[in-house]
Symmetry: C2
Subunit: 267 residues, 2 copies
DNA sequence: ACCTGTGAACCCCTTCACAGCG
DNA sequence: CGCTGTGAAGGGGTTCACAGGT
């Protein structure tokens, strides 16, 4: 039972953080058992998906009863590798980089911001959110010193690829890119990208499409499936004081009123 | 040719902004024709996918030659509804909200920040990035006044749902949520969520998994840093009536060195 | 009875391979 | 010939429905 480790599907991996956050909330309410149906509702997915997802982790539920919240939380954390800390370095201390540095949600969830890096002489040496900003050239030293595991790219698009190369060269093989650029990394590295402008463009696609059908309404199309509410999910750190929020990942959409096409969702 | 409008798949819609950005760069280099293969390489996808995606927009390529950059750019912009401006209101002016307000990438791409909103008395009335911060109660007026089409939620998780409800009530049916919470909107609205902590957790999953199979790894193959670009891939879409589904965001990952399991990607 | 775990159907997307047309 | 456009094959992921425990 040490490593059941069936190949957990990527789609499932992307939902585990949502279950994790949901279960944390449930636990805070002193509830110690939860059914797939209830968890599904809270996480904004359907019950069959919850059961299938959790089954990849092993059989941690009890038939006729549900899942023990504390145990499930532990298993998901273990699966996500959150039983240990994964220090993060943020490269590019502009508006976004600074906001991320101030975001308390990282440290709370096992991803403490260990270092800030930039190349701008005006920024290097400054202090942002309690961290001194180092020069990009110091990356190798910082990585070794703090055991940095993840690199966050918050630079302009033009420098994103170079930064990624430098991160990989320094041994940082997990990269989260916020720059609006296509970035390539070698096979041994992992990369995820978040593009804010892209999200807005996708939203405008659906908005426009839905508006089209609104005027003359075309009958005969598929009925709209839809409905409901959904939810994103994710890990929630403490946001109280700051209000930053950001995070990435979950997305969900819905179709529009007059039209029949369901809108996509992402997460 | 007015409305070929085949049902463009959600996965394709999510890639259109990438093609758009890529083509803009190509156009800046004075290149006026591009093949699917070249576009694919630059966008980080494969050629067959590019051709299939573009075919949903209509037959805008020339066999034996490729696609005319300017024309394709126009068609994609039109499809994404970017021929007009979609004003944005940012709710929650904390670190992230302020960073987004300062982010020039929105206005440049047809999504000008038209208003900033918060509920904190200490913030209302202040000026951030040239915009005065209004109280959330003024939302209906601001929406009508500026023709706001999209709402960005950058508040703490606890208030995200209420903000979403208020946005919808005010007529804003396209919402981009950065709060780490499951948010539900009625069928006529569209919602996409981005969760930063979630992305980091997904990265740590793959990092951990890959490390399991690794032992000595690490010859420095620095020379190969980069190189290929093999593909990005997209995430799986999911949307059906119920729930959330995931898909968006761009993410791309690669398999890890020692193991054989490929890592997921999403973009 | 109730709820989990899961095989199988279904659906969407990706990839292949080639027909079709400059 | 070159490159696009696309039918068909292949792979995942979601959903269904029910078998299997409690």
């Amino acid at each position: 039972m040490d490593r059941p480790r069936r190949h957990i599907p990527a789609a499932t991996v992307a939902r585990l953080p949502v279950y994790l956050r949901t279960l944390s909330e449930v636990q805070a309410d002193q509830i110690d058992t939860i059914s797939s149906e209830r968890l599904a509702e809270m996480a904004g997915v359907n019950a069959a998906k919850v059961r299938k997802d959790l089954s990849f982790l092993g059989s941690y539920g009890t038939r006729g009863v549900g899942y023990e919240v504390a145990y499930l939380l532990f298993q998901i954390r273990r699966e996500l590798g959150l039983t240990q800390s994964w220090p993060v370095v943020i490269v590019g201390i502009g508006n976004l980089g600074a906001a991320l540095a101030n975001y308390g949600g990282f440290g709370d969830r096992g991803h403490p911001v260990a270092a800030l890096v930039d190349t701008d002489p005006a920024k290097v040496g400054a202090t942002v959110s309690g961290h001194r900003v180092h020069h990009l050239d110091e990356l190798p030293v910082l990585v070794a010193e703090h055991g940095i595991a993840i690199g966050v790219i918050a630079t302009p698009a033009e420098t994103a690829q170079e930064v990624a190369d430098r991160l990989v060269a320094a041994g940082v093989t997990s990269i989260l890119n916020f720059a609006p650029a296509v970035v390539s990394v070698p096979p041994e590295a992992s990369l995820r990208s978040v593009d804010l402008a892209l999200e807005l463009q996708v939203l405008s696609f659906y908005r426009q499409r839905d508006l089209v059908g609104e005027v003359g309404a075309e009958p005969g199309d598929r009925s709209s499936v839809e409905g409901h509410s959904a939810g994103i999910a994710d890990a929630a750190p403490n946001w109280q004081d700051d209000a930053v929020s950001g995070m990435l990942g979950a997305v969900r959409e819905r179709p529009s009123a007059g039209s029949k096409e369901p809108t996509p969702t992402c997460r």
